[in-house]
Symmetry: C2
Subunit: 335 residues, 2 copies
Amino acid sequence: MKATIYDVAKEAGVSIATVSKVLNGKGKISVETREAILAIMDRLDYQPSVIASALTGKRTFTLGLLVPDISNPFFSEIARAIEDQGEQLGYSVMMCSTDNKDEKVERYIALLQQKKVDGIIIATGIDNKEILEQLLSKGIPVVLLARDMPLVAVNTVVVDDYVGGCLAASHLLELGHRRIGIIGEREKVRSSRERVRGFRQTMEEYGAAFVPEHLKHCDYKVEDGKIKALELLQADEPPTAIFACNDMLAVGTLQAARELGKKVPEDLSIVSFDNTILAAVTDPPLTTVAQPMEHMGKLVVNLIVEELQGTAPVKQRTVLRPELITRESTAAIVS
Amino acid sequence: MKATIYDVAKEAGVSIATVSKVLNGKGKISVETREAILAIMDRLDYQPSVIASALTGKRTFTLGLLVPDISNPFFSEIARAIEDQGEQLGYSVMMCSTDNKDEKVERYIALLQQKKVDGIIIATGIDNKEILEQLLSKGIPVVLLARDMPLVAVNTVVVDDYVGGCLAASHLLELGHRRIGIIGEREKVRSSRERVRGFRQTMEEYGAAFVPEHLKHCDYKVEDGKIKALELLQADEPPTAIFACNDMLAVGTLQAARELGKKVPEDLSIVSFDNTILAAVTDPPLTTVAQPMEHMGKLVVNLIVEELQGTAPVKQRTVLRPELITRESTAAIVS
DNA sequence: CTGAAAGCGCTAACAT
DNA sequence: ATGTTAGCGCTTTCAG
């Protein structure tokens, strides 16, 4: 069997309390006994049980991560960043793909609580605000990532979607585009709404007319984007540029353009959002508004760990600035 | 505070043993008390502590998943499949990205043991076989996924890489290609070696000469593939087709071709392996040897859970058949 | 059918 | 500087 604290204590001829103390670097222990105990620990290949320690009220050193879908590149890239920072600080992360279904969110949250995770990172949409509030009321550290609910008092890390939208728009407008299509996620997705809002706002500032028919909403997958892009491009006066609210939708747009024999960027410019691996891999590579995913992951872990150490100050909302990455899917309009 | 088993016992006027029994459906409990207890449980919103239960020797209902990099689409897609099947069976999964470094593998394995996970799914390469053997000797259920070490007695789920290589080769050969380049991962990666072996074997059968200079090895990323593809394509007699051992390398190959002004598939055919989202998203979409990722994930979870229930028979090695998906990156050679 | 009690491995007062 | 002891929340004999 695995060695326990008792084995170490017996072997060292001391009490378990002493062993526990050297384990946690607490209390005063003479150098000799400490050394001796340490030696025995690794001779016995002793690994303290996180479970037992957690039962006495200590941490489990485990974080829960809720995302819509871990196989979506945006979230898997974020997950990697979170995992890395977690590992630095001694935390493991449990992944939970919710498919944006409240029902799954609830199931996972309940599960995570039973497993006594130290904190939960929520990067998935939640329709019912109460789920979140109830969770918060239990005092479990929670941080929202890439999704926010301004009315709820919770730590949040987001990118400035509005500014991102503006960035995308001014790029296109500077290139001379005026008839621009927009493909966003479903209306209820706040971040998408904000991106669109920034985009439209900027269009207005440039005096570009906003045509309601040029704004489409759909789910977040490639296929959805393709369908909407086809609609846009087959209209009477098709747009000369399209802003897709994420990389997947942009890929769909690219496919639609290809299907219609339109060249990108000659016949159609495309700007997307996120800058996942997808944006770098398409042909042409996509001009996109990049989210600093690595930084976001790091930040979110730090925040949650601070919160559970009690060193956390008041709730905060960190808004990161996105950045436009110019690649080859956009070009000046020729008229 | 959260309700404990004591709270519900007191509330129901019974002992905690009774509550425990209804919780686990063990022993004989009268219908009335069971009902009463159940009612109280949910009135108190009682959630049994997995931690406490684990301490008494029960399962933690948590699985560890070791992959090289969760942000690599192949692994994130597999992870999703594993997560889903795990959820079906009541298991959570902790993700661990190892970057294929033994040192990280060891750290993560130690951590997972301290957290008393019920089983570990290993989908990452391990150089030092002893790490695996040591783990197995502790009696922790382990399953290898997409990586195998035939000499070690461990449950394994893999795709038939050799056959996959054959499939890729015959497709290209049937299209008339004879000068074919191959880009594989580093030599030590078994699955890549097997794919190449199958590929070469089939070439021989078709009487296509194998040119040593046409075989390149590198890391698994897009950029690596691009570099090797450039070398291949800039040679005196460049190949008319390239087999890339995974989708990322194929993407790199696609980029190299574009950079050199070669059209795919007119000037160069490309076949890849995996069939991740990347293969569907490039232009042209890639002909690729698909791994049944969903099925693999399901299988691997079932295997490990069977093992932990003791219902597991002898160790087994499941070899799944890959399937060629023909898309637009390959075409008959015109001479 | 139900309960009392002994642990699981560890932490944290409180003594010594 | 080190040891004693009482839990943490649950499972599991073993009695009743």
